[in-house]
Assembly symmetry: C2
Homo-oligomer: 342 residues x 2
């Protein structure tokens, strides 16, 4: 029996309600194959408001020793934008070199899309996770005066881009073998040109995979007018952030979308989370839908090599949504229903 | 009778077919009030392919002396991304200090939105036009090697942001008095913080205007799930580019969307254009819809103070779409029909 240690960061608000269901899904799907030990980390807005700590160095060191991370959601309106994001979420992505931010978008049968004619939607966004405008390289001078200048610097390296490009090609080979690079190479000519060259270069090793290119502005149109055109979308950190939220809306809400922040070379643990936030307005009311969190457990299992167990969770979720997706249910009801099907 | 000189840049592809209709709309709507003289400029992909010129200095100087610019569309797949965009379109926006990029989005009666339940959509995006990631401050080292590093720098100044913020508040006062600032201040903390502070500061002078804030990723969701929540969206150059294309899709296609690149201090001429591209696939076939070009003529007239004439064009377009919007018509048929109603 495989022993697996999971770092659990339930975080804030509904994060605390949905994460236990993800843990139960892990266990149920791998019964007899794996045994999970959990290390709980009290991190997020509540911890920060209590004692000012965001991600203590010793917590980070302990997290590094685990096999994978389950994260709930982090955030609280009382905290100034940027503090937890940069101090906790992005700090983890960068410190653990999670260079692939993997975000599947699928329109499940039984879920209503806001689009009149959505078609079959089933694509994955491969978002770079450790570079671009997210690296925190910017500053301000003369702050608060009429002469203030504020900069944000997008840093992109061939090393960082090529590895995520390779990941996208490997993924495309397991899917419908089509990659759409999304960038803004007509304006961001330096970074865009490098992305395109690396896609072309790596693409030569994958002659079966077809590639095309959309500007980010055009891609936001296609997500609304023709989302079924996409198989694998490959893009940078900021464009990936934008496209995956729009994609979440198009497939009927971020409540059905999970994501993985993956260190594909396995030097550090990867992190799995629903893409929704902490939703303070409904927190503590047993109202949050645990589906995305449970789907993130499936992504975690797939990452650790339990493909069959992951597929069982996916199938359970799919069956649950097809049958009961449109009914009003509590967190516990949805959780129990999906668990029952695994 | 007022004498007005318009620089006309039909550009490429369908740009050449739709621009004459915009000119005719200008004339018809201002009959007896204004007289137009046109200076034609042969700029765009075809010119560049012919003699390598993109925007000769003497053309720019002549353009500076006109009262306003009508632009068709620029672009050709044979030309590498970035050359015409940065050499012509962005060059004009920057050289003429067109700091307000104004993009109304309206769902006309008679136009089908891709959304199942679009509601009333009528908002304006006020996009900053002379700063941010568009200023071309970036570079690359070790290009083509595995050690390549490519950067893109977003430069934002209090001077540049405050003036566009003021414009948005003035515009909101003439509309439903609500501004949504869109940025990514939880990650782009330097620029985002400055934008928010300037909105708060200028907002004190407009106590009737309410403001709120969305991250860019959340805004792309709301455009799909609840677009009628927006009145004035205020945002930076790149986020504005992305949101206005998504908005164009949501209101039934960029064929109904015009835009103005405005120098609101009137030191240099402002520029008006449909937001669609040159569409080489349908060029020269009398198929392109001239509606967006005609709407850009209305924006031009409003900018020059002919509010009543502009309203007449808008009303003619609205009536045409309501009655015939869903029929297949040629460029000339649509043009004539709208002209007939002005
Ligand atoms: C919270 C924020 C920093 C984060 C991001 O921008 O990456 C979120 O939007 C996401 O997509 O995971
Ligand atoms: C062509 C391109 C440079 C331009 C932009 O990004 O501003 C276009 O997309 C637009 O929105 O006018």
């Amino acid at each position: 029996m495989e022993q697996i240690t999971i770092a659990v960061i339930p975080g804030d608000g509904i994060g605390k309600e949905v994460t236990p269901w993800a843990q139960q899904a892990l266990e149920k799907a791998t019964e007899g194959q794996a045994q999970f030990a959990y290390e709980h980390f009290d991190l997020g807005a509540e911890r920060y408001l209590r004692d000012g700590e965001i991600l203590p160095e010793e917590d980070l060191e302990r997290i590094k020793k685990t096999d994978a991370i389950l994260l709930g959601a982090v955030g609280d309106p009382r905290i100034k934008a940027g503090i937890l994001e940069r101090g906790l979420l992005l700090k983890l992505r960068f410190a653990l070199d999670q260079y692939v931010n993997l975000r599947p978008s699928k329109l499940y049968r039984g879920v209503e899309s806001p689009l009149a004619d959505p078609g079959d939607i089933d694509f994955v966004v491969v978002r770079e996770g450790t570079e671009g405008l997210y690296c925190g390289a910017g500053g301000a001078i003369r702050k608060g005066t009429e002469h203030e200048v504020a900069t944000e610097v997008s840093i992109n390296t061939a090393y960082g881009v090529e590895r995520v490009v390779r990941y996208a090609f490997e993924l495309a080979m397991k899917r419908r073998k089509h990659i759409t690079l999304v960038h803004k190479k007509n304006v961001l000519v330096n970074a865009g040109d490098m992305w395109q060259r690396l896609v072309d270069k790596v693409g030569e090793e994958y002659p079966e995979v077809t590639t095309d290119y959309n500007h980010i502005d055009a891609a936001t149109i296609y997500l609304v007018t023709d989302p079924s055109r996409f198989d694998v979308i490959l893009t940078d950190n900021l464009f990936g952030d934008i496209l995956t939220d729009e994609a979440g809306a198009v497939v009927g809400g971020v409540g059905y979308s999970a994501s993985g922040c993956i260190n594909a070379s396995n030097e550090y643990p990867s992190m799995f989370e629903p893409i929704h936030g902490s939703a303070p307005d409904i927190a503590g009311q047993n109202k949050a839908n645990p589906t995305a969190a449970i789907l993130s457990a499936a992504m975690l299992l797939r990452h650790l090599g339990f493909d069959e167990a992951a597929a069982r969770i996916d199938a359970a979720v799919e069956a649950d949504i097809a049958e009961l997706g449109s009914t009003e249910r509590s967190t516990d009801e949805v959780g129990r229903a999906i668990l029952g099907r695994i």
